[in-house]
Symmetry: C2
Subunit: 331 residues, 2 copies
DNA sequence: TTGTAAGCGTTATCAC
DNA sequence: GTGATAACGCTTACAA
């Protein structure tokens, strides 16, 4: 392994000079700079990341907690987060998040990362506290349910957004609207449940506990819940359903198809994220378009600023409603 | 930040003793061990990863190159890789792979990782060479097209597997079978194209360049290619298609649905991976079941052994054919 | 069984 | 402008 010492020797300068050049410090003569650059090239020298980290306490690594990578929505955000982070010289690693293994994760992270991205999870206060004390910013894409002291978050205004969905549904004649929710306490989907309740209220529509189905955030579970709903003869109770995630919307659609329930004629279905697949189903699914690229880019910006010690503020984005076949009669 | 020195002071022992305890070295008295453990707990001490890496040259980090995270197949493998790697104390980071940015990636990795996982990509010889010289094992999940000197790979026997698919198709009366391929030079999907050609030959079925459609590995592109195929009136040429990836199979199915082509009656379609979604389409899609968990676990094992310097050998797994509605007449 | 001390490859503070 | 040199926190001979 080539070290800075060898480079210095080869260039006929001191190790300090090499450092200056490498870190773009001012006050280095052009001649020296050239010699150093030349030596670096010839020796194919790469600075030691570990040594640098030991000295500077900066790891240039970011970690993101993922709930379930099989979800195209999360995968998409992870993707954007990675690409944007790399622009700033950060490596991104990820860890599947299990609430019950938080302690273990905390241990795992110690001294290895400069920042944590959350995908809406609510970390435990002790964990947040540990990270805070270690000076590690926590930026959440999607507002955590427990507000807790995350450094900042980016999200859309769920109440306003879901109100758009509800208004559209109303305009199509739907007054009994149900929600396929994910009731997990620590998952960002819960925010959507809360927002949906408010939005229904704002729109003057009735909404209670019996209007909520539990789909666990996954396709399979939502499908099972819907199949059950149909089986026990509840189908007449609602004329439309909003699913808190696209995967759940697809699950509901699958359940309807297998049961011979026409969508949107007998039941309208809308999703919340706009993953690619919602455009590939029959019927195509009406969804809110979560601005993933923008939100991810913003999250990385916030992260970089927070790491620099600059003050950061959470951001809320707009979300459009994309009306497609699953909610549009005669569409 | 608590250091080993503080722990030593608190426990009333030397810094070396703390190290011995931490690294489970023999030759430490129980009394000392207890005192150290106690001090560590009280101080909530965590060893510095950077310092340890600087000294040992082990980073305990693995990286995986991802082609496209929106693909449930890759996401699934990434998932398994992460979970299994963590069992062995490794952190997993990932990088979206772009052939043209390989140089940049190489730079990015220097001194930061102990091993590289490939998802079937063919790395350039120089890159492989660099990694080899740095003592970094390269384990590929799915055999790279260019055999190159990767340390080892895990995969299924594609020719034998695709032969199962073809035999099944033959038994359903299909003799003109096409392939929806991904022709990218560096992508593992290419292996499947090669294998398919061999399998067709082995089954005594005609297969030439005109029997190949190019779907770029993605749903959208495969759908477009299929739509095109239908539009220009080629539909009668084949009675069945095998897609080199499930995403492409779904894209073809979508194209057929939008064009009013009945599957499997007018065209049978089969996939290659068994991602969850193939069970949720109508019709459900016949697929080969790629043993993702087993392959991922095996890949991590190989990685750990290779890092330890043990000799490793590539492994081939069996793959089952899951016959579903998309290829089964009257199913 | 325990302690001392020499690095590991950087960065950064001083002198020169 | 440039060059010594002291940390950074850890591992590991080697000494005691």
């Amino acid at each position: 392994m080539t070290t800075r010492e060898e480079v210095a020797r080869k260039a006929g300068v001191s190790v300090a000079a090499v450092s200056y050049v490498l870190n773009n410090k001012p006050g280095v003569s052009d001649a020296t700079r050239q010699k150093v650059l030349e030596a670096i090239r010839e020796l194919d020298y790469k600075p030691s990341h570990a040594a640098r980290t030991l000295k500077t306490k900066k790891t240039n690594q970011l970690t993101v907690f993922v709930n379930y990578l099989g979800d195209a929505f999360e995968a998409g955000i992870l993707n954007h987060l990675e690409m944007e982070s790399r622009m700033f010289g950060y490596f991104v690693n990820f860890q599947t998040y299990h609430p019950e293994r938080e302690e273990e994760l905390r241990h795992f992270m110690a001294g290895r990362i400069d920042g944590v991205f959350l995908l809406g999870q609510s970390l435990r206060p002790e964990t947040l506290e540990t990270l805070h004390k270690a000076g590690i910013p926590v930026i959440s894409v999607m507002k955590p349910v427990e507000p807790g002291p995350v450094t900042a978050f980016v999200d859309i205004d769920w109440t306003a957004s879901l109100q758009k969905t509800i208004r559209h549904l109303k305009s199509e004649g739907h007054l009994r609207i149900g929600l396929m929710a994910n009731l997990s306490e620590t998952h960002a989907h819960r925010t959507r449940t809360l927002a949906f309740r408010q939005a229904m209220k704002a729109e003057g529509l009735p909404f209670g506990e019996t209007d909520i189905l539990s789909g666990g955030g996954r396709l399979e579970a939502a499908k099972a819940a819907m199949l059950d709903y149909i089986r026990i003869g509840r189908l007449g109770e609602h004329t439309a359903f909003v699913a808190a995630s696209d995967l759940m919307a697809i699950g509901m659609l699958t359940a309807c198809r297998e049961s011979g329930i026409a969508v949107p004629d007998r039941l309208a279905i809308a999703g919340c994220e706009n993953v690619l697949m919602t455009l590939q189903t029959t019927p195509t699914i009406t969804v809110l378009d979560y601005p993933r690229p923008e939100a991810s880019v913003a999250a990385v910006r916030l992260m970089v600023e927070a790491i620099r010690g600059e003050p950061v503020a959470s951001r809320l984005f707009d979300s459009r409603l994309l009306v497609r076949q699953s909610t549009h009669m005669g569409g």
